[in-house]
Point group: C2
Chain length 275, copies 2
DNA sequence: CAGTGGTCTAGACCACGAC
DNA sequence: TCGTGGTCTAGACCACTGT
């Protein structure tokens, strides 16, 4: 077998060789042609979307159905190409957007990997210095409550529906820097508790992914200047009514509706905030 | 000539035909081969950068040297490909990044255009509503001054160097919403005055582009919560010491060093701010 | 050295928009 | 109609990484 392979290798181009290897290795049942014909592919497809968009869609489905775990490698571009019945270049273009969104990671010579998920709030920086400082998360509370005006509107829920509220403290260099309040629909995340959140280092997206199989991406944040209430002042070590930066955003699945509404409130007397 | 072209068209593929037309149309002196050989291009190039990156570089140079005006169309992808001695796909990939940055605009069936420049601060929105509101700019002041600590550091200047300060008011739906202070090195923008700024609808980037041939892009902004001083309170119609959102950023040429340091201060009691 | 991502080409065809 | 961007393929080769 090895000898045979080598002999073929000498006579074939690398690309041809790789396609051939894949054809021989993976069971034919997995090879699902996406295009009806090979010569004029895009025009005759049902979804009327470019092939690369369909590739993207398939990969997203795979991720959402838990086909691959975080950190795991996808099949190689050539294998995916064969599986979907398209060329490597098309697969590549399809993956490009997911790589751009940070869902996938490419490492030359190694493969394409499902990115680790993290909450990915902005960075605290010293004014004028671009270097991000190291931050840590601490769980303050995880409780049931009812949907307030703002959270309900953002998540498309009726007022008064049951929500879970998760409150966390962000430390920068050990010092309190920000409070994050996150709201999710209680029925969707049944069984969420403090233990599970702490297991994931207080990283909510890791929880959504590990415990609920949900890969979440954020919308672009909204900014507002606010003032510290009593509790925030106590937690962050600032005076009541001193100005706080508020950053709010909605997060949802790659294809599905919004599931999480979060507000970060941070002091910006020492550090500045950057997305 | 027309007849001859048509006869050729029947016998040739579209792509071949287009390349042939271009070869015949443009003077050969403009055709500058980027690659040393046609079969193994990337490996033997001086800059050791991918061809598409070099294409991007060339286009950026063309833009900065004023080869095309804002709104004007670039040569077609095929013509650029021939001019640079690469294939259309490579030109396309080279342009992709500039399109992504908003420097170029592609319109299918029409061509690729140099995008209009504008100051492109974020949008004011009603909370929960994604629709951007219409804004207008008003010039408050344009004066000489010396570089303060922050502006000097951002622009890489010595303290005390001459700066120009441009102060503008942003209105949203007619109501005062924000004050923008911009600082640039005076020697670089000699002859800048209120008249020229007003001619460009108070849009500084339009001025840099039209009057000084400088295409400017911004770094990602820094955020901070501040309070209204006496002047800001008066201009924005809020109380002194009421919280204001501060957004600061550096802007520079596509290839060159930072030239502009700007701070926007806005009230966020009615509207929220989004990048 | 084998396998993966990364770049590049030539050629084909489609979709759009102005004339 | 015709020129433009947009998509796709097959094939070639390079660059990197772990074994």
């Amino acid at each position: 077998m090895l000898h045979c392979d080598l002999v073929s290798y000498i006579r074939l181009d690398w690309t041809v060789w790789r396609r051939w290897r894949i054809k021989r290795t993976i069971p034919p049942s997995q090879i699902v042609a996406m295009s009806a014909s090979s010569s004029r592919p895009a025009a005759e497809l049902p979804g009327r979307q470019p092939l690369y968009a369909q590739v993207r869609e398939r990969i997203v489905q795979g991720i959402e159905q838990g086909e691959w775990d975080a950190g795991e490698a996808l099949p190689s571009e050539f294998e995916l190409a064969d599986r979907f019945g398209v060329s490597q270049g098309t697969v590549r273009k399809g993956l490009d957007s997911l790589v751009g969104e940070g869902v996938l990671l490419r490492r030359q010579g190694l493969g394409t990997f499902i990115a680790q998920v993290d909450d990915d709030w902005g960075k605290a920086e010293l004014p004028g210095v671009e270097r991000a400082l190291d931050t840590s998360l601490e769980l303050l509370a995880c409780a049931r409550g009812n949907a307030g005006e703002e959270a309900a509107a953002a998540l498309g829920l009726r007022r008064g529906m049951a929500l879970l509220t998760v409150k966390r403290l962000v430390r920068v260099g050990g010092e309190p820097f920000a409070v994050i309040e996150s709201y999710v629909a209680a029925d969707r995340f049944d069984g969420l508790d403090a233990r599970r959140i702490k297991q994931a280092n207080c990283n909510l997206r890791t929880v959504w992914w590990r415990e609920f199989g949900l890969r979440v991406v954020s919308s672009s944040p909204q900014f507002r200047a606010g003032v510290a209430g009593r509790e925030e002042a106590r937690l962050l070590g600032v005076d009541v009514d001193s100005p706080l930066l508020e950053v709010a955003r909605i997060a949802g699945g790659l294809t599905s509706a919004p599931v999480e509404w979060s507000v970060l409130r941070c002091r910006t007397d020492r550090y500045v905030y950057r997305v």
